[in-house]
Symmetry: D2
Subunit: 360 residues, 4 copies
Amino acid sequence: MSINSFGHMLRMTTFGESHGIALGCVLDGCPPLIPITEAEIQVFMDKRRPGQSRFTTQRREPDAVKILSGVFDDDSGQQVTTGTPICLMIENVDQRSKDYGDIKDSFRPGHADFTYLEKYGIRDYRGGGRQSARETAARVAAGAIARKIVPGMRVRGALVQVGVHEISRDNWDWDEIDRNPFFCPDAEMVETWTTYLDDIRKSGSSCGAVIEIVVDGVAAGLGAPVYGKLDQDLASALMSINAVKGVEIGAGFSAANLTGIENADEMRMEDGKPTFLSNHAGGILGGISTGQEIITRFVVKPTSSILTPRKSVDKFGNETDVVTKGRHDPCVGIRAVPIGEAMAALVVADHYLLHRGQMG
Amino acid sequence: MSINSFGHMLRMTTFGESHGIALGCVLDGCPPLIPITEAEIQVFMDKRRPGQSRFTTQRREPDAVKILSGVFDDDSGQQVTTGTPICLMIENVDQRSKDYGDIKDSFRPGHADFTYLEKYGIRDYRGGGRQSARETAARVAAGAIARKIVPGMRVRGALVQVGVHEISRDNWDWDEIDRNPFFCPDAEMVETWTTYLDDIRKSGSSCGAVIEIVVDGVAAGLGAPVYGKLDQDLASALMSINAVKGVEIGAGFSAANLTGIENADEMRMEDGKPTFLSNHAGGILGGISTGQEIITRFVVKPTSSILTPRKSVDKFGNETDVVTKGRHDPCVGIRAVPIGEAMAALVVADHYLLHRGQMG
Amino acid sequence: MSINSFGHMLRMTTFGESHGIALGCVLDGCPPLIPITEAEIQVFMDKRRPGQSRFTTQRREPDAVKILSGVFDDDSGQQVTTGTPICLMIENVDQRSKDYGDIKDSFRPGHADFTYLEKYGIRDYRGGGRQSARETAARVAAGAIARKIVPGMRVRGALVQVGVHEISRDNWDWDEIDRNPFFCPDAEMVETWTTYLDDIRKSGSSCGAVIEIVVDGVAAGLGAPVYGKLDQDLASALMSINAVKGVEIGAGFSAANLTGIENADEMRMEDGKPTFLSNHAGGILGGISTGQEIITRFVVKPTSSILTPRKSVDKFGNETDVVTKGRHDPCVGIRAVPIGEAMAALVVADHYLLHRGQMG
Amino acid sequence: MSINSFGHMLRMTTFGESHGIALGCVLDGCPPLIPITEAEIQVFMDKRRPGQSRFTTQRREPDAVKILSGVFDDDSGQQVTTGTPICLMIENVDQRSKDYGDIKDSFRPGHADFTYLEKYGIRDYRGGGRQSARETAARVAAGAIARKIVPGMRVRGALVQVGVHEISRDNWDWDEIDRNPFFCPDAEMVETWTTYLDDIRKSGSSCGAVIEIVVDGVAAGLGAPVYGKLDQDLASALMSINAVKGVEIGAGFSAANLTGIENADEMRMEDGKPTFLSNHAGGILGGISTGQEIITRFVVKPTSSILTPRKSVDKFGNETDVVTKGRHDPCVGIRAVPIGEAMAALVVADHYLLHRGQMG
């Protein structure tokens, strides 16, 4: 019952604070003989890494991942997993020894300063300590390994809404994702978001976002009733990401407006195989994968660290105003894309192993 | 890693199929000396019980709960929990020995017939077997006990949207809930839903719904970073309910449209205590309760069992049309209200014990 | 973290008290399509059942097991597991509504009366409540299913010591086990134990025993470092049985007296396969099976319920003498044989599934 | 279900191989505000550290522990735990880049070389990789923190048997422990063991040992029926240590020879409190602490790495002889004392938190 662990058979335990010595995770239960290098993991680290564009925080963290354990050379000299726990460590480099005087006793609205202090009687105020989204660097590292566990699986994510601006699904082009700083699949939306975010940033505010994760190449049959459902575990995984306030699968909340006639994903035989004619279910029925694309979305609230003063109190009971100085993301949702991908990869890989265990 | 269990310290393991001998659960980790009777649990069972109005299935199940273990008389002769596992059993009475010939080999669209067979190579087709929402009867029973664990906690739920019709929050009145067959808090909406659902039913279709659960009387400090967050566990709990396709906390998906300035829940001192001026967070920051109302919503898709034929295939690869005969809910979302309440009660009670363990 | 559950992937959760309505377990994670009937399980129940000879308690319990869930007919009409949780229930029949006046407030030496009351502030004094070894009936039922999960696995147990009398290993004959009321593999020892136990019983005392469990037909490679070792899980499983005070693997405590030269299990090739020349390790190296026989022993303390008065106190702080009236086993170790077998079967089956999950 | 984790609420996950970059653990669930420094932990590391006398391996490892996360300064400037996961890292310094040519393909008798390769299809042969007892350095570090969680708890261990020589309990003196290189509580035995071990070492062999762990200052009521018993978890904890082949509680295996009359720990009132007149139970009844000393023993087999050649095979199917060159402990049991202490501390602290959670 580790409350800093996630997963059934493929189990990630993370550690570390924003401005501590290092953060990272132990990934346990990974099968042996999977080729993996630090360089392969680093590709995904770099997607999440701050300072990639003017729309993400300018904190200078190389986020260089180091594999401390769990790998060894196979007979051909290639580095592979050994089936033992893989510790992935990321050292914190840019721990500015700044003066925290102004925020160390105040509760930043929207942050967990108040709740951590209420719970623990102490909080590491340096960059938010454990509540910081820096913890997600460890998830991205673990997710890079998870991606290699399920043969044929592909995990992709995209930003589909920034503030009030939603993409058009007719324009969806996965290739577009890497051509803009937003993981945006709709080329026509990039300009709008750019202007919108520049304005938001200049106004000292921030905005929310919606991310969609699509997993394909997954066979039917993954998932475990009743409390280890694939959609349940995706919901848990994504809701555990900082600032996430909602998760939906397939049609999601719009299913409320559909009738049973509309919502039914009908079936026909195609090339001798049962095939679904639509995917309102998001690739999951009864908690088990249908073999279609697994589709999930999650919403990230507007960054709580903003340049505009907000009313608050401090731990001594004084009323105060809090304003965030320095570098912050105007839309943390952008960097949530690789994090969501990592969590989805971990969930599906976990269920792949679980299914293999129960079913042979 | 029981895949049919839920909870960290307060752990519910459910068993049973729709048309088997009995279903139920084992609730483990419940503190001792909590007064509990079958009659107290039955109150909540009756809220979920089918056949309460023409808007829920007419299956005749008394859903009488029996406590098989874990209780004993205290010195005063009152029946209380003993700290040992509580087994709650509900016998299936209305197991019509009907002919399943027409559906035993076909995959009902929207149901998990296809995925169960893909996963297990066998499925109990009698009423859906384990995939049936009858499993949730056990949750409601366990939830009735969970409600008594946290002193001062109150868990209430309401239906806030049926199909395209959403209630007005200005009309919200908790007392209204028990006066209509919909758990609807908006008296003015009852008529609309009645007509709408009658039409839906007559047309051989069904509709979706959104349920809101509100928990109050919970102190600040419950919840456990990073993979045992209160909101994460609520998401997991609610998404594990049959037909649920989305979960949100506080502002939820609408947070995407807010700016950081709007979304910040500012604080002031009131009666000498830190107080929040709004609750976009839904009572949870950084996965830990703020002491405010905990607010969560989930969406239930339209009932998949409808009288209108839908295209499907059978397990032999033949194309076929599937139509549901007999008794079914036109809107399963209605009966999801007491289920959502039960799951929320279980999650908060679980974190209450977890917090007490770590913090003393 | 269910404290009344055991197992990683194959997870048994037990419930029930000695004199409650019923006891049983939920077995979760069992693969589908395994043929199982109540009659098959009953065979093992009957081995543990009281009243089989004058050396076990005369409590009249049929211990009839009922499968409440998790099974269904396959296409050929044979009853098989479905992959969903299997609830096994045993109703308590012989719950004599006797007067507990004399023991309900006193602490029986050697029993957990004192510790349960200290822990929970309440205890079910009827037959020991949850601390009673009746709980092990559920384990035996679950074990009967576990035996069928690992192809080729055979689990056998024997009583190797009763009080001061140990069997001779030269006389070991597995066929002998079913020919005497002691599960004794040494025909020459039966007479001695008979006389010894009759004397013990007449003197109003009881004696301890040592049980050996041998599992064969298990491939090399099962077990999981570092905290899911096969020997570790066997130790946990066996130590969880009532009255057990020690567990050893292979050479066990006698390994202290051996030198490294003697203790090494040397290897040679035989029929083209690596073969061990001895088995001091008990079939487990580094927590992983070697492919040899898995050998474990556990000691059961003398029955604490004896006819000879022992000094004690009651919950009001009065000094008193406690004597057990009525029916009890002079050597509870006898009935521990089928229980130990069941636990070993559960552990190995669990690791079989776990290994299959991680390794494919 | 992390197979490299241990504990219910206080959960340790270890990582690392003998000759990898680093090893360590993440300790999750530790309460906040416990003062802890690296120096305090180092005291216990040094007890386990190799090279302390000629009776332990001469590998030169400083075993310097580094706290990577989970601590922060409280208001008074003292470093305390924060309630978040504590990562403890020990860098491997003495990783001789020696030629493993002779052992990389052979199976060392008594080691897990064969079983790791059978399981994983790969093994890290450098110093035994993950199967090495170096992993226990992480346990000792975590145990140092666990010791501080339960107020009043004291955990002490002693070596009570080396090869055929057992101490006399009449000579037991805890102060003696630190005055000899064996953690021996019997001053008169030190000379005998010295000579015995010198002989064993010179003869190119090794010997086994028995360790006793005594925990006092623990209140009655800790432990959790039925599968989280205190003695069960101690058995699991100790059996998970490398080379351990048996565990016993209180009277242990000698209980087989006792009658129920002898074995009963009678009770009387003393100073107004219920008191036991003996402790055959080893401080645990029904899996729950009695408030007496908790007493457990475990046996460590003779070191498998010996200078005398033993018959083996290699992974290509060739028969070969294996001899261990270089530095090794003639009796690994010596260094197992601080490891056993650490595991016992972790188990009791875990149950302390668990009990507090369930009982308030």
